[in-house]
Symmetry: C5
Subunit: 306 residues, 5 copies
């Protein structure tokens, strides 16, 4: 996630480069500009053959592009926001489970309360590692019993296995403290929510936007941008490269941004800040447990928070 101050000044808005999408698309945009310049220089002539293109095809194509880009954009953002909402729920559930551990099991020794709650905090780290396809990191390791950690590392689906252990531990603790099934059912419901979040993130990750959409859009945008100079050269001359550049910037930019946020669990600049969110969950759990020495929140590097 790119961090920026809320009221950037005009200069920032117009000339910012770092962390923006330009860093990714500039070769394409540059190529388009060079191509346009070439077209202007040759007056739209290709091997002595004058390519005549009126505005009509671009107007007609434009409508289709509008549908395509609008649709793709909306769907990509919905995926991004659903993923964010699911992760937001991990925070909420982690707080609820920690709170309920403290309020419903007040006589449980503090150490046991801590083990129960730490496991919930670890879930966020484990889920992040799983979504990013990396091994379970040290952060989760520090929060989990050694034996469970080993088991998770061997598992094909660590978050799922962790939920099993979490559930077993809560059942055992409630039974041990003689708390009735009704309150246990409430806790089990929260564990189900975590299971739902985990499944929802897997769904987003494993089901991309149908490939033909991406393919058609890519092709269309390229054809559009590469042919546009032939249409404009006769009427606006040397302004052609500039006009094409602006259009290429937005088209390629929207496309690249859509790629990033449609699969928000990666570590690209506009992806979700999973590191920061899971650290925040740990901090919240520890805070509720009354710990004084809380870990630091993750900070942005080069304006990007991951």
């Amino acid at each position: 996630m790119i961090i920026h101050n809320q009221k950037p000044n005009l200069a920032t808005l117009l000339f910012a480069y770092k962390g923006t999408i330009i860093a990714i698309i500039w070769p394409k945009v540059l190529f388009t500009v060079l191509l346009s310049s070439l077209v202007v220089m040759t007056h739209g002539t290709l091997y002595d053959y004058k390519l005549v293109l009126t505005a009509t095809p671009f107007t007609l194509w434009g409508l289709t592009l509008a549908i395509f880009l609008g649709f793709r954009n909306t769907v990509a953002y919905q995926r991004f926001w659903e993923a964010r909402t699911l992760w937001g729920e991990v925070l909420v559930v982690a707080r609820n489970l920690t709170r309920q551990t403290l309020t419903l099991l007040p006589d449980l020794p503090a150490a046991q309360q801590r083990v129960l709650s730490y496991r919930v905090a670890a879930f966020a780290y484990v889920m992040r590692d799983c979504q990013r396809g990396q091994a379970i990191g040290e952060e989760a390791a520090a929060l989990l019993p050694a034996q469970e950690l080993k088991e998770l590392q061997d598992s094909d689906n660590a978050p799922n296995m962790l939920l099993l252990r979490m559930s077993q531990a809560f059942v055992a603790a409630f039974r041990q403290q003689g708390v009735d099934s009704i309150l246990l059912a409430g806790v089990e419901q929260q564990v189900n929510r975590l299971s739902y979040v985990h499944g929802g993130c897997e769904r987003i990750k494993s089901t991309p936007i149908p490939y033909p959409y991406i393919l058609m859009l890519h092709r269309f945008v390229h054809i559009y941008c590469f042919l546009l100079p032939f249409c404009l050269v006769d009427s606006i001359g040397w302004l052609t490269p500039f006009v094409v550049c602006v259009l290429a910037y937005t088209f390629f930019g929207l496309d690249a941004l859509g790629d990033q946020i449609a699969d928000p669990f990666d570590t690209q600049p506009n992806d979700l800040a999973l590191d920061a969110m899971s650290r925040n969950i740990e901090i919240n759990v520890r805070m509720l447990l009354g710990e004084q020495a809380l870990p630091q929140g993750v900070e942005a590097r080069d304006g990007v928070l991951l």
Copy 2:
């Protein structure tokens, strides 16, 4: 579902053919291109009668097409995504039920736990077979008691019958273990979720997008693409077939893609990967039960995962 690597290079994006929608629509697109070429050759004259078409009709038609295509696209994708979400819930519920079997019925013999959980895994296969209109396959057969399998094969609505047996088995197990109704009610709620998923998928399958939408859109797109050359020929000459080709590709492509994803339970390239998802469910259930020899996940064939 078409599998592709996340960062396809430019060549792939521009020239990929296998698994794309072009494999389906190329005859129509080719026909349109040939027709356009013919129009260019005859200078838009039909039996000595010059068909004069300005851009105005196409601009006016274009707006309607935009509404149509945008609407159809959105609705088709919503159906696709709702179906995916429903199937995603089967995974979540299968995990929850297996987990609850293990945590709430810890003293049940492992063999009985396995029968309970296998039935949940079998549900995914049975639902898939039902949605694809095929007989119950070997995968489900291997997970179900022989007698129940027979009953399901004779049933008109096997998933529904399976839920009855699942529910009865859970009630019997909970009663046998003396677990109270509160925790049983939680399990029953999960079974209700499966019932909801099954009903939701039947809803999508049995209620297509109202036929006149499809019909009007098809007709409109064809008329549009077949008349467009007469409008363009006088201004852009031999570029006409190319311009028409690009438009025909996107219009027919969007149309064909919409057809595929609006009914996502089939086995066309862009349909949901029901095989892979139900196999994944089985793997997850077995993993939670602590089995070591897990089945292999389904792999993509020719880039298509089903």
Copy 3:
């Protein structure tokens, strides 16, 4: 609901007439075509006064029409789909209640189980009859105790009254069998869902899309189609009637289709297949009860399933 095979051939798509929206709108379209022809014959002259219309008004009007038609279309479809979803829930709940009758009240005599479950199946028929404003039909009568049927026939709101009797019967049966309140509460929740579905359908039926939308759209579409020939006649001559015809077909067609699906409980070709759905519910309930002689599903007549 219009039934069609999933892969209609091109001829069907282009020339299908039966069951399509054309059967309703052809007089208007024909009138528009005739009017256009007249305009072409008189070269756009009305009583020696030449009506000059450029494309500008139509382009400007077009944007507004796009907003209107898109909005109306979306809202109509949302109503259609919400109604379908609500009806889909009746099926799910009917299955759940039948299943729970069998699993939670296993010792209840089969005859009593049947009465309880039949009442749920009857609910679908009664709700359909209520929504279509017709008397309670034979299908419901065959499933209900004679006395209750009489009471429902006298009632102003039969589905509501039926839910009261259903709820009372379940409470009585649970109390009689000594099942605890927790499982009864689950059943009561399902009855509440039926109540919610009934209320939701009443909401859709009693609250049409605000009338001025319909009125403005109708007026606008008519003016647009009737004036368009004057704009086109000078540039495209005898192609005018054809261009206007295509536009009139889609505008009037979208309008008529929107009318049908916005109020989906009627018996027009594109309305919901309430007969088929309620029959399906009865079949499902009977199947779960283990009956062998199941009723036939409703079949489409002339390609229309109601």
Copy 4:
């Protein structure tokens, strides 16, 4: 809510005036038409200065207007429909609570059952009066114990206070009848739904669409309609007033309609029929209680149901 027969004939659609939005906007439309006529008469000349406006500004403005109007329209309708859905839930909950009073408290004296249920029916009237900013009317007064009515009339938030009394009465009745907490919790959940509905309606009422949207849209529409004649006069002459009139009708009409339905609790023609809905709730409650003499439903006056 404007009542109309479902299949209005063409004449009605084209010439209906009563209850339509025209009754509100005709002065503005007339002014626009007069202005256009003046422009035509002076050939677009203002104090010897010829105002030359091409179509380009209007095409560019048009896109922005499309975004604006589409957005505003959608948001206004969403508010309308959410309010309708919330009110629809009052009906559902009123039925549920009455039904549960009868089924879960079967031994409660009928008079006490009636008091409990009447209070639920009164809630609808009290909420309506509160939303319309009027004193609690006779309809609610007839359904409530005299002392409670007094208390409500003195209260700043009568619906909220009524829910407290409702809840207390249910708790007392359940305790008195010795019904367990589980079923009481179900009733309490329904009361929470009423609380949610009340809060939701307050939310819609107290938070209008952000004012700048309304302001910008208003200004833009006025400028657009007042300048348009200068653009059209040279090309279409005396058709200008007509074209502008049609556009002004839809723009001002959409705007006025949006105003009405965005705040749907008023008593304007297109607002929600709160009178009819709350009366319907009373009828349903009385019907379930088995009363024979049911009140009449509210009827439309001059085609408007309130």
Copy 5:
């Protein structure tokens, strides 16, 4: 939130300035107008070089702008409305918890009931202070036990800590009064709702719309507005500054408004009225407790309610 009377007259609509978005964007708009005037004076010539721009680039750009602005607008409003809905739920839950305190714990001493309910009211203030990044104010302080207040002031996440104390107090009170777990579970569910609201608001606050959207939109709008005069100057002359002014007003206005409502917890004129809402919650809680001397609601200052 800007307060305005529901039926502003025409003069207000056209000339209102205070509290509108113009107060923020006028420098940019003015600059655009001055630039346009300069362009008209020099007839579009830059250093003797005539910048020729046809309408085509603006038409093509326009479509992209439409996608951008529409998307951004919709997303910003969704964030605004979700935040409002979440806050609306605090009111509902506060009422529910106060009501349940009174009905389920009728024998608890009034002083203790008051402490329980005041804590709920304080939650709204604490959450507001937290969202606005300010210290816990006097309003919350007056409602909380001194010791808890101290603890909250020291906490990194005061609302979260307050929920822990709230939950503990409810559990203690229910246990003390011997009320069963079922009703306590209902209360705990309400506390979970508060936790969900708190997490939801944090989600909106911590995850802005992806920065590249904002950046691209800003840049595009500026380029568009600054180049437009060169396109218009030849055809409409001195009307250019006016046309550009109107467009700049809406583009910059939409942009600025989007900025405000996308992050609705600030204290800008169009942000949510958190002060008024939390005061209203306190009033409602006190009213239910039967207090006579209720605090005044927050009033608008200069037409702005915060």
